[in-house]
Amino acid sequence: MPDLTQIALATGFGLILIGFYGALTRRGLLRIILAFTLASTGVNVVIVAIGYMRGRTAPILDEAVTTATAVGRIIDPLPQALVLTAIVIGLGVTALMLAYAYRLFRRHRTLDIAAFRELKW
C-alpha cells in the first residue's frame, strides 16, 4: 500500500512528464502553453508533497497545536509558502504567454509554430 506522499509525488511527476510531452510534440501554441501550465502544476504538487509528513497537521497554531507542541505536530511550512507564490506567479506567466500568442496570431494569422520562422536558421 503506497503512502500518500508517494501517490502525490507520482502524480506530480506524471503531470511534469505529460507537460513535457505536450510541449515537445504539439505544434499549436495554445496547447504548448497548456502543456507548460500542466508541468508547472506538477512541480507545485511535488514540492508540496515533499513538505508533507505523515500524521501531522497544518502549520497554523491554535488551541490544539500550541507553540510548545508545534515542533512535533505540524508539517514543514516552507514548501507551502514557496508554492503559494509560485502559483500566483505561474498565473501571471501564463497570462504573459497568452498575450504573446495573441500577438503572434495577429501577425501570422496562425498559431502553428512551424509558421514562425524569424528565429530559425
Partner: protein, 287 residues
C-alpha cells in the same frame, strides 16, 4: 518522426530520473532545522498563528516584494503587448471609464443569459467580501494576501463574463495598484526605522496570538498585497477582454476564410519559402 522519437527518448530519461527519485524517497521523520526554527520562534517573535503567512510576509518579505513586482511587470507587459495593437477605432481615454455595452459593434459573443446577469449582481459583492475576509484573516487562518487578491480578481472576471462589453477603468486599477505598492514599501521602511529591519512587522503591537488585531503589521501588509495582486490580475483580465472587443470591431485585411486561421500567411516574407501542408500541421492526432 525522428523528432517524436527524440522527444520520447528525452521523456524516458526524465521518467527514469523521476522513478529513481520516487523509489528512493524517504520522508523526514522530524522537522528540518529551518522548519523547526519557524515552528518555535514564529509565535513568540512575530505573534502570527499562521506560519505560512508569517514566512511569506515577514521572514521572506523581500521575496514577496519581488514577487508582486514580477506580477506587476507581467501585468504591465500584457497591457503593453495587447494595448499597442488597438487601432484608431478605439474610443479616446476619456471615454474609457463609462461602461457602454452598446458601443462594441458586431460583438460575436453569444448573448449573456439572465441567470448570469442576475447572479453576478448577487455574487460580486459576496466574492469581494470573501476576498477581504481571506486577506484580513491571513495571519490566523488559512489565507493571506495572494489568495485574497486572487479572489478579488475573480469578481472582476465574473463582471466581465456577465457584460462582455464592459470597460473597466484602467485608471482606477492603476491607482489602486500603485497606492498599495507604495504603502507596502513605506511600511517596510518604517520597519527599518522603528523595528529590527526592512519589512519587520513589529512596528505595531503584537497583541494576543490568534486575535484579529495581532501579529503587528502582518494584517496590514496582507491587505496591501491582496489589493495589489487583485488589481494586477484585474488589469490582466481587462486587457485580455478589451483585446476581444478590438478584434471584433476591426475589419481584417487578410483573407477571411476559415483556412486563414490554420495556414501560415503567404504574404509574410518570413513564411513564404517553404509552404507547409494544408491544415494538417496544427496538432495532428497521434495514431
Amino acid at each position: 518522426m525522428v523528432k517524436r522519437l527524440f522527444a520520447l527518448g528525452l521523456l524516458a530519461v526524465f521518467a527514469g530520473l523521476f522513478a529513481s527519485l520516487l523509489s528512493g524517497y524517504v520522508p523526514d521523520a522530524a522537522l528540518n532545522p529551518t522548519a523547526r526554527y519557524y515552528a518555535e520562534r514564529t509565535a513568540p517573535d512575530l505573534g502570527a498563528a499562521n506560519l505560512v503567512t508569517a514566512i511569506i510576509i515577514t521572514y521572506r518579505g523581500l521575496d514577496t516584494l519581488g514577487e508582486v513586482t514580477v506580477l506587476f511587470l507581467a501585468a504591465a507587459i500584457v497591457g503593453l503587448v495587447l494595448g499597442s495593437d488597438r487601432g484608431s477605432h478605439r474610443p479616446g481615454p476619456e471615454d474609457r471609464t463609462a461602461g457602454r455595452p452598446d458601443e462594441a459593434p458586431a460583438n460575436p459573443s453569444p448573448p449573456v443569459g439572465e441567470l448570469l446577469t442576475t447572479g453576478s449582481r448577487l455574487l460580486v459583492p459576496l466574492i469581494l467580501l470573501l476576498g477581504v475576509y481571506v486577506f484580513a484573516n491571513g495571519h490566523r487562518t488559512p489565507g493571506g494576501g495572494f489568495q485574497g487578491g486572487a479572489i478579488l480578481a475573480s469578481a472582476t472576471l465574473l463582471l466581465l463574463l456577465a457584460k462582455p462589453g464592459r470597460q473597466l477603468s484602467h485608471r482606477l486599477i492603476a491607482a489602486l495598484e500603485s497606492l498599495a505598492g507604495l504603502l507596502f514599501i513605506i511600511i517596510g521602511l518604517l520597519g527599518l526605522a522603528l523595528a529590527g529591519g526592512f519589512l519587520d512587522n513589529r512596528i505595531l503591537p503584537l497583541g494576543t496570538l490568534g486575535a484579529l488585531f495581532s501579529a503587528g503589521a502582518i494584517p496590514l501588509i496582507s491587505a496591501l498585497i491582496g489589493l495589489k495582486v487583485g488589481a494586477e490580475f484585474s488589469s490582466i483580465l481587462a486587457s485580455l477582454a478589451e483585446t476581444r472587443q478590438a478584434q471584433a470591431g476591426r475589419v481584417e485585411p487578410v483573407g477571411d476564410t476559415p483556412a486563414a486561421w490554420v495556414q501560415p500567411d503567404r504574404d509574410n516574407p518570413g513564411a513564404a519559402h517553404k509552404p507547409t501542408g494544408p491544415a494538417t500541421t496544427a496538432d495532428r492526432e497521434q495514431p
